[in-house]
Structure formats: C-alpha cells, structure tokens
C-alpha cells in the first residue's frame, strides 16, 4: 500500500480529514495551505528548520537499546526513540518550531495554541519566546489543575494561559476556544495546532513536521541493528508522535505499526479515551475521523490519567490507517500505564511521560510473546517530570 500521496488536494485520507469549519476560516486555511506548500519545498526554509532542529531542539534524538528492560521482559529487543530528550522534554517542539517559522514568513506576530498535558503549550510558548511573538495558550481548567508545573513554565516563558471552563474543561474544549480566538483574530494570528487533527492542512502539516522522528528512527535502526525494526509502537491521543514515527515506515510492509490509545478505567467501563478502539466516524474540530460520541452525535466525556491523551477524536490519518489495516490500534488502562511508568523508571533510569507510558505498557505486554530476534521500537514521546505530582497523588503523597 502506498499512502504517500495522501491526503488528496482537499485534505482527505479516504473518507477522513477534510475541512469542516465555519466559512470565516476557509480563507485563512487556504492561505496557510499555500504557505505550507510553498515553504515545505523551499530549500532556505528547510535549511533553517534543520538548523533549529539540530541546534535548538537537540536533534537527532537517540535510539536507545533498553537492554535491562528487554531482558526483564524476556522477549523482543526493545529500542526507545528518545523524544523525551528534546528541548522542552517532548516531541511537541518538532512541530512548534516548524509552525513558528511558517508563522514568521506569513507575517503573523501572534500565536495561539491549545494544550492538554501542557507539553504542546510549553513548546509553543518556548518558540514564541525565542521569536519574540505574542503567545496565548488555551488549557482546560481541569488540566490546569493536574498539570500545574507546565502552567507555570508557560507563564515563565511569557505566555498567557487562559483557563477554559466550558464543556468538559479538557483538551477538546481548549481546542474549541483556540478556534474561537483564531476566527476572531485571523488577520494577525497563527494558530499552532499541536496534533495531527483539525482542518486540512493541519493533519498533513503537523505530520510532515513530526516525520523527522520516523526518518531518524529508520536511519538509526539500519545503522545500529542493520535492518528495519519489526514493530513500532507509539501512544495515540490526537496522534502526532505516532504519525511522526509511523509515517516513514508506511511503505515498509514488514514493519508492524501499533498505536496505543488510552483505555482509562477499561474499554468496557466506557470511561476511556479510545475512539479508534471503541468509537465510530463523525465530524469534530474541522475533520472527519473516529470519535467518541453518543447516538445523538454529541461528543462524550473522555477519561485518562494522561491529560495529553484525554481527547475524544484522533487524527484522520490514523482513522485511515486503521480502516486500511496498515496500522493496528489497541488500548491499555491507566493502571497498566502506571505500572509501565514505574517499571521503566527503575530498570532503565528513565522517567517517561504518562502519555508515553501507554506505549511502553503495550510493549511490555507484547514483548514477552515475541522472540529475541524481534526488534521493537517504542516512541518515548516525552519525559515524565510533569506527571510526578499525579503519580505521587495516586500513592497518597502530596508534594
């Protein structure tokens, strides 16, 4: 299967994706699309992006063989793609650097963003500080409570953090509010979406900025192992780290691609954030994709210990990869993610983000069923410092 020409010129991945927005945004989206097509082919833009990714973000990130953890699991050899070592501690900065460079070329002096766990908000506030742009970040009021460290980081970086109190007060509501800001300030504002969702061209553009993860992984695996990996595992909320690492492997049929959704209290309880595992197609936030919604088409509240995965939709390219059976989507529960968080911390000395812990948890389930010939890459999309208060609270410890 060759999916490289996707999306089509109207932003469709099969029946998914597209541009489902109010008329006011159709013009600005066309303008963004034109800029994205122009600059992503412009050598001087690519050179500046590469320079920043190397010297500011700290790329390439290592591909690290987790020897002790692999031995303990007694199966597949597990390599970790260390996106946690990027500047600001997650893969999110790959995309914000790219979009900020685009915003500058488009003459936009103000950037806005939505954030769940705060990683994308921090990554946006960071590039805004570096480029001297005005920055406002929308964050669900309940996420502000569970991610207070990142809130303070954003404020230190000079961003204004706006609590969103509508709806479920989480990531989806922050996205609604950021869209409302954009529609009201389209002339001078660039909306830096943090995931591979939203209206076209965002899913394609964010993927292209994140695909550096997979390109590096491919080259590093060939250099270190002498061949491509057998499987690639990544967590999926909106799905940007997963698309980033999957995309350069899509035309390699031998590489199994596995996306891990947030199972919350368990799929059977209904309290989860796993639209690909337990949802159905619909339209939200500018694109058609798998959603968690009721029989009336109302979006239902999601649950996950990880604020970054607590989202009722998913990027349209994942919806397409699922239907095309090119990628497989599974889920793990909060408890399983927490167990993986602790296990990798004590065996490898790496504290992962709770989001990434979902990918690790599935890897820990799968690895023992595989032989030691099997090379598995897990995208360690972010570091866990921000989650320490959440994990401590589970143990009844208040920091």
């Amino acid at each position: 299967m060759n999916t490289s020409p996707l999306p089509d010129e109207r932003g469709h991945f099969g029946p998914y994706g597209g541009k489902f927005v109010a008329e006011t945004l159709m013009g600005p989206l066309a303008e963004l699309e034109a800029a994205y097509h122009r600059y992503l082919r412009a050598p001087e833009f690519i050179a500046e992006l590469d320079h920043d990714l190397q010297h500011y973000v700290g790329r390439p990130s290592p591909l690290y063989f987790a020897r002790r953890w692999s031995n303990q699991l007694n199966g597949a050899r597990i390599y970790l793609k260390r996106e946690d070592l990027n500047h600001t501690g997650a893969h999110k900065i790959n995309n914000t650097v790219g979009q900020a460079l685009l915003a500058r070329r488009m003459g936009k002096r103000r950037v806005i963003a939505e954030t769940g766990a705060g990683q994308h908000g921090v990554a946006t506030a960071t590039v805004a500080a570096r480029f001297g742009m005005q920055c406002r970040v929308y964050m669900g009021a309940s996420d502000i409570q569970r991610q207070s460290l990142n809130v303070f980081r954003m404020k230190l970086l000079g961003a204004e953090v706006i609590p969103v109190t509508s709806g479920s007060k989480t990531l989806k509501d922050a996205l609604n509010e950021a869209m409302r800001d954009w529609v009201s300030n389209v002339d001078d504002t660039f909306y830096i979406i943090g995931t591979v969702a939203g209206p076209h061209p965002y899913p394609a553009m964010v993927r292209d900025f994140q695909a550096i993860i997979g390109r590096e992984t491919r080259a590093q695996c060939l250099a270190q192992v002498g061949r491509l990996p057998d499987s690639v595992v990544a967590c999926v909320g909106g799905g940007s780290n997963a698309i980033g690492i999957f995309h350069p492997f899509i035309n390699d049929p031998s590489v199994q691609l596995i996306g891990v959704e947030a199972g919350g209290d368990g799929i059977a309880t209904g309290r989860h954030s796993a639209p690909l595992s337990a949802g159905s197609p619909g339209v939200l936030h500018g694109n058609r994709t798998y959603l968690m919604h009721d029989a009336d088409g109302q979006i239902i509240e999601t649950h996950s210990i990880s604020a970054g995965l607590d989202y009722p939709g998913v990027g349209p390219e994942h919806a397409w990869l699922k239907d095309a059976q090119r990628a497989q989507y599974v889920s793990v529960t909060d408890e399983e993610a927490l167990a993986a968080f602790r296990s990798i911390t004590v065996t490898e000395g790496i504290i992962p983000a709770l989001e990434s812990s979902h990918a690790l948890a599935y890897a820990a389930k799968l690895a023992p069923t595989l032989s030691s010939d099997h090379v598995m890459v897990v995208n360690l999309s972010g570091r866990g410092d921000k989650d320490i208060p959440t994990v401590a609270a589970r143990d009844g410890i208040s920091l």
Binding site: K19, F20, A22, T24, M26, G27, V283, L291, D296, I299
Partner: protein, 268 residues
C-alpha cells in the same frame, strides 16, 4: 409552489421592508419553553425563526450561545427532539419559515437521508450547518434536494470572490452574511464594510441576503436594514432567555417588537 422562505421574502419585497430573522436555541432551557418562545417571536413580528440545534462543541459560538447549548443538552434536547419541537410548532403556525442552525455531527450521526426526510416531514424549511462548507456537502446536498430542504450557507468578510461564487451556487433560500470575523454575539461591525461586501454579493446572486453576528439593538438593526434583505438577531434574544429562564416569552415579544419597529422605520 413557493416554499415558506420564498413566500416570506416575496411578502417583504412587496412592503418593502427588511425581514427579521430571530435565533433561539432549541430546548433552552426546556422544549416547552422553546415552543412558547417561538410563538412569542412570531407575535413580536419575527419573519423567520432560526432554531439552534444544541451541540456539545459549538466552535463558532460565543459564550452566550455556548451556555444556551449546555442548558439545552442538560435538559435532554437532541436533534430528534428539535424535529419534534418543529412538528409541534407547525400545529399552530404553518406559515413562519423555520431554519435549523447547528453543527454537522448530529446530522451525520442521524444520517443525511434520514435527517432530511424527517426534517422535511416535521416542517423544517432549511438548514444552516455552520461547520459544513459546500466543498464537503455533496451527499448532504443530494439528500436536501430530494426532500426539498433549503441549504443555507454563510459568507464571511474573509470570503473572496471565488468562494462567494461557489457558495451562492450551492445555496438556496437565502444567504447568511456573517458581518464580523468572530463568533456569535461578539463585537459589532462597520456598516460600510458590510455594504461593500453585500453589493459584491448582489452581483452574483438574486437570493435574499441576511446579515447576522453583532446585531444587538434596534439601532443596529435599523442601520443594517438598508443594505440587506433580512437582519438576523441571536445572542441578544438568547440573553433574554438566560435572564428569564421560566418566562421569557413576554420579554422576547417586547424586544422583537422593538426590532421590528426599527426595521419598519429603517426602510422608509
């Protein structure tokens, strides 16, 4: 046979006067209250009713209509419930056009065919789906055409000539011009900007043009009435319902009458 919307605009042209389109959210705060409020809007002088279909994620709405959506959903309103409400309204009023305004997902969930059939049977005249541009609407358009529902589309200050042409080609009933770059109930607009855009639009279509977003007072409505065929008022009415949740009908009727009077004098 002319549709209710065509009939209504033809009557207005004969007067002549700009029409008054009034928006409230269905089920805010209860279906019974909405039914009473719809009749009150007509008594006050509304020419067309826009009924908001509540959605959990109303991306294009400001806080006033967001809260109305939340109240309606908390009261159990659904797309099926909205259609039942229109049927009920039609038992007493078979003349006033009713247009639904909402987001795509509830309609897509019901199925385009099933929705169009049920909406037409309930006495709905047209639908404005805020997050559905004509580019994505081919299947939807087919179903609407089959059951004789008008497709109301909006145009915005950011719509260029190409988009204006594309939209008026897809539209029927009337065209909704969004006066400001913003969400419902937001800032007010420059009348000259609106006048300019609408005269460009007139060159492309004979459909009536309504103007909404930011129309809060009879004065603004009067000023607008000379540049368009209908003035659309929403958040200001929803705010009245928010202030008088159990008995808004009288206050709505009074306010609508003041808008209507302003339009009558504005056209003179």
């Amino acid at each position: 046979m002319p549709t209710r919307i065509q009939h209504s605009f033809a009557d207005l042209r004969r007067v002549p006067r700009a029409g008054l389109v009034t928006f409230i959210t269905a089920g805010d705060p209860t279906p019974a209250a909405t039914l009473a409020n719809m009749h009150a809007l007509v008594c006050g002088g509304a020419d067309l009713i826009e009924l908001g279909v509540p959605f959990s994620d109303p991306m294009a709405d400001g806080p006033i209509i967001q809260r109305a959506s939340e109240r309606a959903l908390a009261g159990g309103m659904s797309l099926s419930g909205v259609l039942a409400l229109v049927s009920e309204f039609r038992t007493r009023d078979n003349a006033t056009p009713v247009v639904l305004m909402g987001y795509l997902n509830p309609i897509e969930r019901m199925g385009y065919q099933s929705f169009a059939q049920r909406a037409a049977a309930a006495g709905v005249d047209g639908v404005l789906t805020v997050d559905l541009p004509p580019e994505e609407a081919s299947e939807y358009a087919q179903a609407f055409h089959e059951f004789g529902l008008d497709q109301i589309y909006s145009l915005a200050p950011t719509s260029d000539a190409d988009r204006m042409r594309r939209i008026v080609a897809a539209a029927s009933g009337f065209v909704y011009y969004v006066s400001v770059k913003g969400v419902t109930g937001a800032k007010t607009f420059e009348i000259d900007d609106v006048r300019q855009k609408i005269s460009a639009l007139r060159a492309l279509t004979t459909l009536p043009v309504g103007v909404g977003f930011g129309v809060k007072t009879p004065e603004i409505a009067a000023a607008l009435s000379s540049v368009c065929d209908a003035v659309i008022v929403g958040s200001a009415l929803v705010e009245i319902i928010e202030r008088h949740p159990s008995n808004a009908a009288a206050a709505l009727e009074t306010f609508v009458a003041s808008l209507r009077q302003a339009l009558a004098s504005g056209a003179a």
